[in-house]
Structures are given as structure tokens and as C-alpha cells.
Amino acid sequence: MTRAAAMRRMDAAAGRGLLALQRCADCGRVQYPPREVCAACLGDALEWEEAASAEADLLAETTLHHSHDPAFAEALPLRVGLARLAAGAVAITFLDADCTPGCRARVSARLDAAGRAILHASPTR
């Protein structure tokens, strides 16, 4: 499976149950999706911060009833949303059923069946 180099670092952390986020060593910006340079200052000294989860605000949601990949057919309907991480970036994540826009959420990472790091948001209690 083709995967950007920076994503493989996230995959490795998700395999240990951790969410890895990129932070620029020069300007401090946190960015997602991960990449090989900082989109703010173009520096390439990017550090990884690992945590069990990250705080986020849920900005938007959808419930998918159709997928282009048969692998998801049995899992439909699926809830997906846009979550703004407290650290600054916006992440597309799967959503818990009770996670709705305006809700404060906790975003964590796990591996899917294909070995990809997948983000998941659940409400903060």
C-alpha cells in the first residue's frame, strides 16, 4: 500500500495505541495531515509528539450511506466529521454516535484492518 513517508510514522504510533502529531521545531506549528515540511515556515525539522489522545472541537459531520470501497459496505452507515484539534490543525475523523457539531471531543488513533492510522473522536465527558 502506497503511503506518504510522514504517514508511516503515524501508523507506527497508532500500532502502539498512540496519536502522533507533527510539530515544527522552528516555529512550533502543529500540522495535519503530516508532511515533510512545515506549511507555515517551510522548515523541515519536524518533531513528533505522541499522546493517548488530543482535545478537539467538532466542526462538521456527515453520515455516509454510500462508499466507493466495497470494504466499507458492511460498516455503513458510517459517521465522519471534521475536528479542530486544540493544537491547531483540522482532522477528518470517525465519530462516536453521540459526537455532534459543537461537541468537545477527544481524538485518538488506532490501526485499521489495512494497517493505516485511523483517527476517532469521542465526546469528552
Binding site: A60, T62, D69, L82, F94, R116
Partner: protein, 384 residues
């Protein structure tokens, strides 16, 4: 006086769309080129500039295409900007002709659609998309636009009925376009009762992928007159990429950054435009264009929709050939559809769907959902 001097756009052509095609993209682009030659009476050797857009040309590209069709242009440009490519092609071609880098530029866009082709295109669209969007249910553009629509509905108070009104008006317009793939009249009950795709989007909110091609020519007015072609003046053009990068959710597009530049260049205002062709992959983006191009205030989209009639005979003729929502989305040709229809309207060659008295027309583009938003915006104002 247009900043493009006496440069004009002319010869709008459409290669009729089909739901699926066994041809490759070279065939569709070649068919567009051939249609331009037929429409203009020009020979192939007269085309000395070529600006193209396509998603499905790989492993070929613009240079292989010149050999494929035996063309020797002295200017070649390729726009991998999908839905924004039409106004951008016109912009580049016009400046090239004005400055003498080419005499006659063919602008063409086309894509094929083979079984599984749309899935493959979406799955590998970009690295962000492949890695950080596709694994979340593989909903494709429907999924991305569903979230933008959900957010816009909460923000502006837009309802499904508002979006339905746009879709139904476009379908009404499409009944006069023999090239539209979807021509059966659409009732509000059909729209509201359609199956859900990605909430709040239902079937008729989503464009239908297909194969097809669009094209037009850019040249000096004197050349067009010699050829007997009706031509449009190019009054103003804009483009922007990754506008408003710090907005957490895309609630406005790059048009808002550049619209004052557009209207100032055109020497007219939004109220002087007689027909509008927006990029309509999903109706929420149509509403965004109404707002961001200055046809109404920001967040005034729902009221604007409720107060206007978007059919050909209405008080705001919009997507007069049915738009992509009724014609189909032929890949990158969807980025040309609006410009080509605007050219027909402003040159009085739209046939049965001609809007009465079109002095000015606007066409806008929107493309490239790379991650969470569309990155490319463009627009052009044309004059009769």
C-alpha cells in the same frame, strides 16, 4: 477597454457526454479539437497554442497528445486544476494571444470514464486524500461536500428545499439541452425523497460522473471576424489557489479574495450580469459562489435563492444548460462547462436555451478537494 485588448473567445463546443466510455482520454480530447476545427473552419496547422485539462490522460499527457493528434503548437499548457480549469485556460490563452506567444489557442478539456475509473481517480487523487480521507469510509467528494453542506446549513439557515430549488431549476433548463444526460423533470418531492448518500446530501445533490469533452478558441477579433465566428470579449478573469487557508471549515472560497479585482477589471458589477454559470458539483458550492462573487451578501445565500428564479426565463438565469448536476460531470470538462455555456449565451448561439438579451455573462470554477476543502477558484466575465 478590456485588459486583454482585442482578444476574444469563440467557437464553444461540447462533445456529447456518455455515461461510460471505452475510449481513452486522448480520443475525447481529439474529438474536442476536431469539433473546434469544424466550428471555425480552421485547419490543424492554424492552431499554434494548446491549453488542456484532463484527469484521465495518464500515462499520456499534453506533449504525448500533440503527437497523438499531429499538432505542432508553439505554446502548450496543462491545467491539473479540474473544476477551476475553464476560466484559467481562457485567462492563459488570452494573455498568450495578446502578447504574441500564439495566434490561435485551442482550449480543450475532456475525460473518459471506464468501469471503476471514478473509484480509482478518487482513491489516488492526492497524497492527503489517499492517506487522510479515503480510509474514512471512501465516500469520495460526496463525503467532503457533505461536511461542508452540513456546516453551511447550520451557519446560514439554508434548507434542503433551498438546494432543491437550485437543482430543480437546473433540471428544467436541461430539458432544453439535448447534450444533458439527465433531462427528466425533477419535482421537489423527488428531490426530497431521494435516497441519502452522505447526510445531508441525497442523490440529486450529487453530480453524476460521465465521459465527455468541452472546448473553445481564443484569438484576435479580426481573425474571428474573418472566420465568421461570433466572439465574446474577455472583460475580467481571476483565479486563487488555497484561499483562506486558516479557515477551519471552508465557509467561503477564494472568489471572495479576488472579486473586487474581477468587477473592477470588467467595469461592471454583479447586477449587470445577464446570466451566470457557476460550478455546481454540489448546490452548496453554487450558494457559496453567489455570495463570494458578490451577487448577494455573505450568508445571504438562502434569502437570495428564495427570492430568485434560476430558470432560463427567470430573473437570474443560472446554469442554463442544466449545469453538471443535469449534464453530468465529465471530469475536468466540468471545469469548462460553465465557460462554454457562457460563451454560447453571450454570442447568442445557445439555441433553444438562449436567454434574452445577454450582454454580460459570468462563469466560475471550483476544483481540487485535496483534503478538507476545494483549493482552486476561478471566474471570468464575458461581454457580447
Amino acid at each position: 477597454m478590456s485588459s486583454y485588448g482585442d482578444v476574444v473567445a469563440c467557437a464553444p463546443i461540447t462533445v456529447p457526454y456518455v455515461r461510460r466510455s471505452e475510449h481513452d482520454a486522448n480520443w475525447w480530447l481529439a474529438a474536442a479539437l476536431a469539433a473546434l476545427l469544424r466550428a471555425s473552419g480552421l485547419g490543424k496547422q492554424a492552431i499554434d497554442g494548446l491549453v488542456m485539462a484532463s484527469f484521465t490522460l495518464a500515462p499520456d499527457g499534453p506533449a504525448p497528445f500533440t503527437q497523438y493528434v499531429g499538432l505542432s503548437p508553439r505554446l502548450l499548457d496543462f491545467l491539473p486544476t479540474g473544476g477551476a480549469s475553464g476560466p484559467m485556460a481562457l485567462r492563459r490563452a488570452a494573455r498568450a494571444v495578446q502578447c504574441g506567444d500564439a495566434e490561435v489557442v485551442a482550449c480543450i478539456a475532456g475525460d473518459t470514464l471506464q468501469p471503476g475509473g471514478f473509484r480509482d481517480l478518487v482513491a489516488g487523487f492526492s497524497s492527503f486524500s489517499r492517506d487522510c480521507v479515503w480510509p474514512y469510509g471512501a465516500g469520495g467528494p460526496n463525503q467532503s461536500f457533505a461536511m461542508l453542506t452540513e456546516h453551511a446549513m447550520r451557519r446560514t439557515g439554508a434548507t434542503r428545499e433551498d438546494f432543491g430549488k437550485l437543482c430543480i431549476a437546473q433540471r428544467s433548463n436541461a430539458t432544453r439541452n439535448p447534450d444533458a444526460l439527465l433531462r427528466a423533470p425533477l419535482a421537489m418531492s423527488d428531490y426530497l425523497g431521494a435516497r441519502p448518500i452522505a447526510s445531508p446530501l441525497h442523490l440529486y445533490d450529487c453530480v453524476m460522473p460521465c465521459a465527455g469533452a468541452e472546448g473553445f478558441l481564443v484569438m484576435h477579433r479580426a481573425r474571428a471576424e474573418t472566420l465568421g465566428l461570433r466572439a465574446a470579449r474577455i472583460l475580467g478573469t481571476i483565479e486563487r489557489h488555497n484561499g483562506y487557508p486558516d479557515d477551519p471549515v471552508q465557509w467561503r472560497g477564494g472568489w471572495a479574495v479576488d472579486r473586487d479585482t474581477l468587477w473592477q477589471a470588467a467595469g461592471i458589477g454583479p447586477g449587470d450580469v445577464d446570466c451566470v454559470q457557476t460550478y455546481d458539483d454540489y448546490p452548496v458550492i453554487v450558494m457559496m459562489q453567489f455570495e463570494d462573487l458578490g451577487f448577494c451578501a455573505k450568508d445571504g445565500g438562502p434569502d437570495f435563492i428564495r427570492c430568485h428564479d434560476f430558470t432560463i426565463a427567470g430573473n437570474f438565469p443560472h446554469n442554463t444548460g442544466g449545469g453538471q448536476l443535469s449534464a453530468g460531470q465529465a471530469g475536468a470538462a466540468g471545469g469548462f462547462l460553465g465557460v462554454v455555456e457562457a460563451l454560447r449565451q453571450v454570442t447568442g448561439t445557445a439555441g433553444e436555451r438562449q436567454v434574452a438579451r445577454v450582454w454580460h455573462a459570468l462563469a466560475s470554477g471550483f476544483g481540487m478537494i485535496n483534503y478538507d476543502r476545494g483549493l482552486c477558484t476561478s471566474a471570468v466575465v464575458l461581454g457580447a
